[in-house]
Subunit: 214 residues, 2 copies
């Protein structure tokens, strides 16, 4: 066998294995935590879902809490990235509209992450309290200032920016967190068209509600 020395620029087999297994475990953990909550989830179940022995999980993640923390941080980062959509336009209808689109897309692509976040916050945010007090608070205040500027310019009606943000979070995440209820009432999972319609309705009602569109 020709054992050529590996390219140092490319990740070594070791780090490949590590990254692959961590991703595998995180994906399984997200699903199990979303389905059962932190207390109801078991390391054994996550291990089975990842196709790894339980002891191997503890090799990569020391404790159940470490694993849980990583899952929560993941979804938070995804949302933070999507939040930049709001800065893509100076027009409130376009900026807020893009943010709603992005949040709805995430609700569809990462429903489990959204549920884990909901679970975490509902239970007093024991793990991500500092995120709420720093990153999220800063981001929120920044957006509030931006919305207030739009109000001052007369581009939207004088609503309370804070509550508009809450409404956006609530409505978009509802389609992930309460997806089961919605699917039941819908007599089946939402189709592409259903998601399109849901997104349009949320956008239209909220944007019209704040006077960003006629």
């Amino acid at each position: 066998m020709n054992e050529s020395p590996r390219d140092p620029a490319r990740p070594s087999r070791r780090t490949e294995i590590r990254q692959a297994n961590e991703a595998l475990i995180l994906a399984a953990a997200e699903k199990v935590f979303a389905e059962a909550g932190f207390g109801g989830a078991t390391m054994q179940l996550i291990a089975d879902m990842a196709g790894l022995p339980k002891a191997n999980l503890h090799y990569y993640f020391a404790t159940k809490e470490d694993l849980y923390r990583r899952v929560v941080q993941n979804i938070f980062e995804i949302w933070l990235e999507a939040a930049e959509a709001m800065d893509t336009s100076d027009d409130p209808a376009l900026g807020i509209g893009a943010y709603i689109e992005a949040k709805m897309a995430i609700s569809r692509s990462h429903p489990d992450g959204s549920k884990v976040w909901a679970y975490e916050v509902m239970h007093g945010a024991p793990v991500i309290q500092d995120y709420l007090e720093t990153t999220l608070r800063d981001w929120t205040n920044g957006r509030i200032a931006r919305i207030e500027a739009w109000i001052a310019e007369g581009r939207i009606r004088p609503i309370a920016p804070r509550h508009l943000l809450y409404m956006i979070w609530a409505t978009t995440q509802h389609y992930a967190d309460f997806g089961h209820q919605i699917a039941t009432l819908n007599r089946g999972p939402l189709s592409d068209a259903d998601w399109r319609q849901a997104t349009d309705e949320v956008k239209t009602i909220l944007l019209r509600g704040i006077g960003a569109i006629p």
Copy 2:
């Protein structure tokens, strides 16, 4: 001692004890289930919170699941009752407005119940699936018909009634389920004035969003 025979119309001491203890246990259970989810909650913790020995809980509720089911049913019944607010007026702004008011009031008075419901639905509604498929679906379809009538009469814009209902549920329950996040961003629990403002904002934005108010 003069042991006068009790009035048969009034509940006996026995049933009094039973009702009082069941209520005590249910209140403690609602709190613990909301704080820890079904899996994270322990009968011991509920017992401690109720001030009763654990074995006494099992005297009134055979299993943890029985207790949990009762808690979930409670909040559902409270919501169903509030849903009647929507039928108090033939005017969409008043009817839907009253429903939003009622839902917001419940979010404030029963945040734990709302969280337990959220928990239950997020985890696939193992306990109340039949409620979703019967009572909730029927109620929803009834309201959709009512909203469609308003649309046909030109009293509100042609939005998708189903998604309007989802938005109402999402926004109102958000103030209960994500109350901790909101309180953190608010730097403290919401005051009376905060709740008043939140309710007004939700009502205004949604009602204007559907064209029920100018």
